[in-house]
């Protein structure tokens, strides 16, 4: 598959602060590509550079073969942006908003009318299209926000955190729309989110971004494989090098090392991180055990510690998923 987006060492600096630190990646035509990272990781800045909202400090990128420095106007006609903010005019109706954004792309007359009806159908808002947007629910506004990015039939759609603040029903509707656009219209999509389950559901490949850098880029399967059979955080009263070596040699254990981060606090109701078991946070040292097979590793680690009479202060078994991958790679949670 040819690449519809090629990003090469893109940098964005604000004074001394480097918001995006020379990232590079490619998106293939027809692909749904995820940019996963916590808030402030540099996802929006990256998208902003690729869509011409802000100028890169250095580096380059090509959208549909057009250089973003020399051919941005052509690149903009291939791109579609659905910004994280609800970029709509609240006092105007959904139809008036869409008509305006369509005209900005040079559409008019019958063509514009048909396209507005088409995108309203895609986001299932035809019946309420003449109501002022300010009277819509958060989810409906998000759907109009997406519709506005589809009017000019972009080949590459940037969806920047499109589900922030929406109800589950609207979220599902957005997922369906994204999948249908990709499947039926062959639209390439760059999807940014800090919700790992969204990325897991929608994306073929994912770049994990943190502090302006891509720290991992692969298919979801391969990224999760980095964890082997899972990761176990074991809190202990004391740790030394001999103990780490012994733990590493246990059956079912791939590696064991002292983590630099304390065990995360207990999950709140809103947390999406799936944990099998979790003990209260500990200030004792924590050993990160990467397992080849998590159940075998847990049994063997606990048996070994009992045998050596070492007190266990906490135990956390992380299920293999992107959240665990992120935690494994950065030592922090996606939503910290």
């Amino acid at each position: 598959m040819p690449a519809i987006l090629e990003v090469d060492h893109l940098v964005k600096k604000y004074g001394d602060f480097e918001a995006v630190k020379g990232i590079s990646f490619e998106v293939e035509a027809g692909e749904v590509f995820g940019l996963l990272g916590p808030n402030g990781a540099g996802k929006t800045q990256t998208i902003s550079m690729l869509t011409g909202v802000i100028e890169p400090t250095s580096g380059s990128a090509r959208v549909g073969g057009y250089d973003i420095h020399s051919d941005m106007d052509k690149a903009k006609r291939i791109n579609g942006l659905v910004p994280q903010d609800l970029a709509l005019y609240p006092t105007l109706s959904a139809r008036a908003n869409l008509n305006f954004f369509g005209r900005i792309y040079g559409l008019g007359g019958k063509d514009l009318k048909e396209r507005v009806e088409d995108v309203l159908r895609i986001v299932a808002l035809t019946e309420r299209a003449d109501e002022a947007v300010e009277h819509y629910s958060g989810g409906m506004k998000r759907r109009v926000n997406i519709a506005a990015g589809l009017l000019h039939h972009p080949k590459l759609l940037f969806l920047d955190e499109p589900t922030v603040g929406v109800d589950p029903q609207s979220r599902n509707h957005i997922f369906e729309s994204v999948m249908r656009l990709n499947r039926e219209r062959g639209m390439s999509i760059v999807y940014t989110s800090h919700y790992m389950e969204e990325v897991e559901l929608l994306c073929n490949r994912v770049a994990i971004i943190d502090q302006g850098e891509i720290i991992a880029l692969d298919t979801i399967k391969n990224l999760i494989a980095l964890l082997g059979g899972g990761v176990i955080h074991v809190g202990l009263e004391r740790v030394d090098d001999d103990l780490l070596t012994e733990l590493s040699n246990l059956k079912g254990v791939k590696s064991a090392e002292l983590t630099t981060q304390p065990v995360p606090p207990p999950p709140s109701e809103e947390d999406d991180v799936e944990t099998i078991e979790r003990e209260p946070a500990s200030t004792n040292p924590v050993v990160k055990v990467v397992a080849e097979h998590s159940q075998t590793a847990v049994v063997n680690v606990i048996s070994y510690l009992n045998e050596k009479d070492i007190t266990l202060t906490s135990l956390e078994i992380l299920e293999p998923n992107l959240e665990s991958v992120f935690l494994h790679l950065t030592g922090k949670k996606l939503r910290e």
């Binding site: 902003s48 869509t51 011409g52 909202v53 802000i54 106007d73 903009k76 006609r77 791109n79 942006l81 910004p83 994280q84 903010d85 609800l86 970029a87 709509l88 005019y89 609240p90 006092t91 105007l92 008036a96 305006f100 954004f101 005209r103 900005i104 792309y105 040079g106 506005a148 990015g149």
Partner: protein
């Protein structure tokens, strides 16, 4: 084309904002009516009162007292005696509108039948009609007084002559003779008045210019004030666009930054033109219907049109500057209040610029509002033509260019 699309969209949004519609189109009319009504009530109140006349009495003698009592009793004039020291300064500072000085030798001169001269000085801004009324009252009282004195003096002289005359000459003092004598004295008093008035207006060699009416001051002044207030709408519209994120969406579309800014400025320009048309039509026709004096729109429609376009353009450019400098909604509100109301006040939109010139010297000339007010005032009140107001229009366009450059330089597209 995209600029027009953005402008059309902004006008659609604007038309749904009732608060903004009221502020931009109705509030100026409310101000003008209120201003005219207050001024009219003051004028009506003034009509019930006598015209104040401040008098410096350097003589202090019997005849001067008689003269002052005569003035006071004549009606129409309210005599207020003030000290000679600082009297002229008060007049120059416009604290008193006119000053009458009775010379030191007034009583002596009258007694000796010499002509004495009263000095009436009025401030350039004092009402010409009132000054003329005061002059007529002074003249009337002085003439009556002189006539009375001359006749009494001649009759006294006749009496003395009759008492001392021999029997044979008594017929010379017959009633007919005395009446003829009195008539002759009356004629003389007309030809050779004992009291004359010297009237001067400091700093004014030519005829005093008639001051404009309240509406003639209010309509151009409030037009300028409110047209410049639309700059706030431009700034707020740009801020709102950034706040909701649609500015980012527009930046991601194939549209140049210049078109984007032009699209944001254009509604302000159109609004300012509509606003001006409404205010002018109201000034010319609406005020008459409400019983106030209407305004004239001058005699050069081309000059008036160009002046209005220049003011609207300058206001639009100022909106870009405010949008570029303000980062928050509060800053827009604060800056707008400071800049637009401040400039409006200092530039002669509330207090007429020709009065501010006396108070603030050349400071108002550094403000666009001053030139806008001057241009409209010159065209509408003084009936000047395009050539006469070209300097004001050039200065306004200079301000416009400077505002656009500063706005573009400081504008944060990120």
């Amino acid at each position: 084309m995209n600029a027009l699309n953005i402008a059309f969209k902004d006008i659609q949004i604007f038309l749904k904002d009732r608060g903004a519609l009221f502020q931009l189109f109705l509030l100026p009319l409310v101000f003008i009516v209120a201003f005219s009504a207050v001024a009219a009530s003051f004028e009506a109140e003034e009509q019930d009162q006598r015209i104040p006349l401040h008098v410096v009495d350097l003589d202090g003698g019997r005849e001067a007292q008689t003269f002052l009592v005569g003035l006071d009793e004549a009606g129409g004039v309210k005599v207020e005696l003030i000290a000679a020291d600082g009297a002229m300064q008060k007049l120059e500072d416009n604290e008193i509108p006119r000053l009458l000085t009775i010379p030191q030798d007034f009583t002596e001169g009258i007694s000796e039948g010499r002509t004495v001269t009263l000095r009436l000085v009025s401030h350039p801004d004092a009402s010409l009609e009132k000054t003329e009324a005061v002059r007529l009252v002074i003249e009337g009282v002085a003439q009556d007084m002189a006539l009375e004195y001359q006749i009494l003096a001649s009759l006294q002289q006749m009496g003395e002559m009759q008492a001392n005359a021999p029997e044979d000459y008594q017929e010379a003092f017959a009633v007919e003779k005395i009446v003829a004598q009195a008539q002759s004295q009356f004629a003389q008093s007309q030809e050779r008045p004992l009291v004359t008035i010297e009237q001067t207006i400091p700093g004014q060699e030519s005829e005093v210019e008639e001051l404009p009416s309240t509406a003639e001051v209010a309509v151009p002044g409030f037009t300028v004030l409110f047209v410049f207030l639309t700059a706030q709408s431009t700034a707020r519209s740009i801020y709102d666009e950034k706040k909701v994120g649609s500015f980012r969406r527009l930046l991601s579309a194939p549209i140049s930054k210049v078109s984007l800014l032009a699209g944001k400025v254009l509604p302000n320009f159109i609004t300012a033109l509509i606003q001006t048309a409404i205010i002018f039509l109201f000034g010319a026709y609406g005020l008459r219907l409400m019983g106030f004096t209407p305004v004239k729109l001058g005699s050069d429609p081309v000059a008036l049109t160009l002046a209005v376009l220049s003011i609207a353009l300058c206001s639009s450019a100022l909106g870009v500057v405010i949008a570029a400098l303000a980062r928050t909604e509060n800053q827009i509100g604060g800056l707008s209040t400071l800049i637009l109301w401040g400039l409006g006040t200092l530039g002669g939109s509330i207090v007429p610029y020709f009065i501010l010139e006396n108070m603030l010297g050349p400071i108002p000339m550094a403000l666009p509002h001053y030139w806008a007010n001057k241009a409209l005032d010159d065209i509408m009140v003084r009936g000047m033509m395009l050539g006469d107001v070209s300097l004001s229009l050039i200065v306004l366009l200079g301000f416009t260019l400077a505002f656009f450059l500063v706005g573009l330089w400081r504008f944060d597209f990120d």
